[in-house]
Symmetry: C2
Subunit: 466 residues, 2 copies
């Protein structure tokens, strides 16, 4: 059956590209209310496409942009088949600055085997990998009087690029309808070690995030540094001293217990990561950095994926303009955030950081601490039936197993799926590092588009064997 589906994908290739161009032409910029009509059109476009794939579709209004939810008809799915929940988003980032685009962002153009448009790869192009594979499965199974190899639910939201404010309440109120065995997401990239190659990867781990705004307040007003300098605690000075104590000489975070819960890298992971061929010098050199730096005892890949990190994201307070102003600021502040490694808890780290700050001698100054955001890390099993199915799917589509990777970033929706539905997310993406997501000239390599369609088609076939 898969052979017939793949043949259909090949035969339908030009139409699939045409369909992608259609939806990329819709400027579904979610953050700007002026585009609300277009955002709605994009939702309707996907609702229609999913109907053409044989699914039952509903466009759910929310307090913001609509959520498209679609299901295969149970009568058309073989008995006892597994259930996959595909998540994607149809909204896009604003296209500005427009003058840097070679061709207009909402007039999709193919050049050198790449399709250029806002949303080409993030995420319309990657959503279409799955819908095109569904479309092929629908056509072929209908022709042959067969059934779908899996129960498929498709959830496509329209607010991913502006905070997903209405997604969590929607998940909470549709728990039954969203029941599945795992979540499938294509919003990431192929693994590129730095030598020019790009291979399929499955991401099984994400870091969490704990973000603080930390202010230290001192005198009741800004003071003349000549009159008061040397007589009282300058909050900017003391803030640098406290933050300077946040790391020890091994660049380890000094908050007591900070590393206690971190899951250690397994020997198997270490072995696998060594084989990834990651080129540290390339990774850092691309952003003008010659010297790797971080927690002692770990290499760059482990620091990125498996270890927590702490960054000062911003400093402010006093005079920061051009020239000199001889002021002792009444307060100074910093944005301080932690990327949390799997098994760390954002609430626990938040409490520990707060306690650590409170324990510092600030010579009469006062803290104003704001917890701005917390999200737990995620670590999925690497030997689940779903990962194994995806692995076999890659073998059949590319002739090799995918590499297993983690990500250093945080994907909040994965935590919601885990916490609300108890589901692991299988992240398998087909973008490239140079796709310019969120930037001018966003593109999707058409060989990735082809590979993604075939891999998703094969994955559905593999699910039938689970």
């Amino acid at each position: 059956m898969l052979d017939a589906v793949l043949q259909h994908l090949r035969d339908d290739d030009a139409n699939a590209l045409e369909r992608l161009k259609q939806v990329l032409a819709i400027p579904s910029v979610s953050t700007d209310p002026a585009y609300a009509g277009h955002v709605k059109r994009a939702a309707d476009w996907y609702a229609n496409a999913l109907r053409e794939c044989g699914l039952n579709v509903k466009v759910h209004p929310t307090g913001g942009h609509p959520i498209v939810l679609a299901h295969t008809d149970p009568a058309r799915v073989r008995d006892g088949a597994p259930r996959v929940l595909f998540y994607g988003h149809y909204d896009v980032q604003p296209p500005d600055p427009l003058n840097l685009w070679q061709t207009p962002p909402f007039e999709p153009a193919v050049r050198d085997g790449k399709i250029y448009a806002r949303g080409a790869v993030d995420d319309k192009g990657q959503v279409n990998l799955f819908t095109e594979s569904l479309r092929a499965w629908n056509t072929v199974t209908k022709q042959k009087g067969e059934k779908f190899p899996a129960h498929v639910t498709v959830l496509i939201e329209g607010e991913e690029e502006c905070g997903s404010a209405h997604l969590r309440p929607f998940l909470e109120s549709h728990l039954d309808e969203l029941r599945a065995d795992f979540v499938l997401i294509s919003d990431t990239s192929l693994w590129e070690p730095g030598d020019g190659s790009a291979v399929p990867s499955i991401c099984y781990g994400l870091r969490g995030l704990q973000y603080f705004d930390v202010q230290l307040h001192g005198p009741s007003r800004d003071l003349h540094s000549g009159v008061y300098g040397g007589t009282l605690a300058n909050p900017a000075t003391i803030l640098t001293q406290v933050l300077g104590r946040l790391f020890d000489k091994k660049h380890r975070v000094t908050i007591p217990g900070f590393y206690d819960d971190v899951v250690k890298l397994t020997p198997a992971e270490k072995r696998r990561w060594k084989k990834l061929g990651f080129q540290e010098a390339k990774f850092l050199g691309e952003v003008g950095v010659k010297v790797p730096f971080g927690e002692a005892g770990f290499d760059t890949l482990a620091r990125r994926w498996a270890r927590p990190s702490c960054d000062i994201n911003g400093l402010y307070g006093g005079y920061g303009g051009p020239g000199a102003k001889t002021v002792i600021p009444s307060f100074a502040g910093a944005k301080v955030s932690f990327r949390l490694a799997p098994n760390q808890s954002c609430t626990k780290i938040a409490a520990a950081f707060r306690a650590w700050l409170e324990s510092q001698n600030v010579h009469g100054c006062r803290w104003v601490i704001s917890d701005l955001h917390g999200a737990d890390p995620v670590l999925s099993a690497t030997d689940s039936p779903w990962i194994n199915a995806a692995s076999r799917a890659c073998e059949s589509s590319v002739g090799r197993k995918p590499v297993l990777v983690r990500e250093g970033a945080t994907i909040p929706v994965c935590i919601d799926f885990k916490k609300l539905l108890g589901l692991d997310c299988l992240l398998i993406g087909f973008g490239r590092n140079d796709d310019c997501i969120h930037s001018p000239n966003e593109k999707f390599n058409l060989d990735g588009f082809d590979l993604g369609k075939r891999t998703h088609a094969a994955l559905l076939a593999e699910l039938a064997k689970v």
Copy 2:
């Protein structure tokens, strides 16, 4: 003779107040080009007043606002008399915010024994202390066919509140005409220890200043903290670590040799300062600070006046707005300044700070260091004939010797007088701490106006005895 002068001052009191109101009514705001005509009027007003005092006057145009320069006629000064150079300024700060003034800033109003107006005490009111004493001396000596007790040069500039850009070149090109034995300035306040009393003071020491903008640059652009967090040196983090090392546990600056040149407090100074009755809790409490803090081993007054200090005047870099942005900034910066104690050299400290920064391990980041301003400290002799004369003048006007104080701030014009003319400045002021200089409702207590006139008159008499 002094008795007659003092009698004349008493008789002429109402006229002196009227004259002060006249000049306070001129909005000589130097920083705003829209007021240039008024600034010129204020210069002319002083030129005229000084002519009425019997001096030869010239209003010198500059690239900015004019400088008024006046001299006593040598034929009207007794042979061998000392030479005093009085320095003041006729320009004022902008009066904004206007709505906070009880009466309009340029409509001088007397309430409760105080005169309210912009410039009431800074510096028109205090310049008039000297011109009124000169006027009285001129009238009385003329009546009696006597001579002035000293050669007097008066220099009143119009750009003190906007940087004195044209003063230094003017001094350089008028060295001969400005030759004197010492400089006399009334632009400071009476000594108020904090118990409500206010006594005449002579300031003999000022701190210098060395001001830097210090930037640490890392990655070539702002980075995603999820993708890069933990793998490279974050310049904001490293900057706090370096600045955190700028002080040791005794809050002493750790730059090698930093304290080497500092003049030690003499036992005599320590004894005198103890007697000043300085109320530390009042001084700090007024700005909402309960805990004194500074270099170990020194009290607040010594930290303020006799010890160097280092302050972070501002922090910037990365994201400082509301909410969270998970960025690793490509650079971070700080404004760092030093108040220098007498005998420290701003060029030496600048070089030492630069070398110290360069010696820090910044893990591949790069410094961009800008030296924004340097001014050396000043320490005048406390037993000069001029200080002794001023001391006797106070004894005759108030019945007690003035206290000898230093200031923690920097008065660049004093360094210019020292370096270009080799002259010590005798700073004797009659303002109060609550005069609201540079703020709405600036005022000058009329008892200070009276005291100042009498003290300056007596000082001229005392100069005759030197």
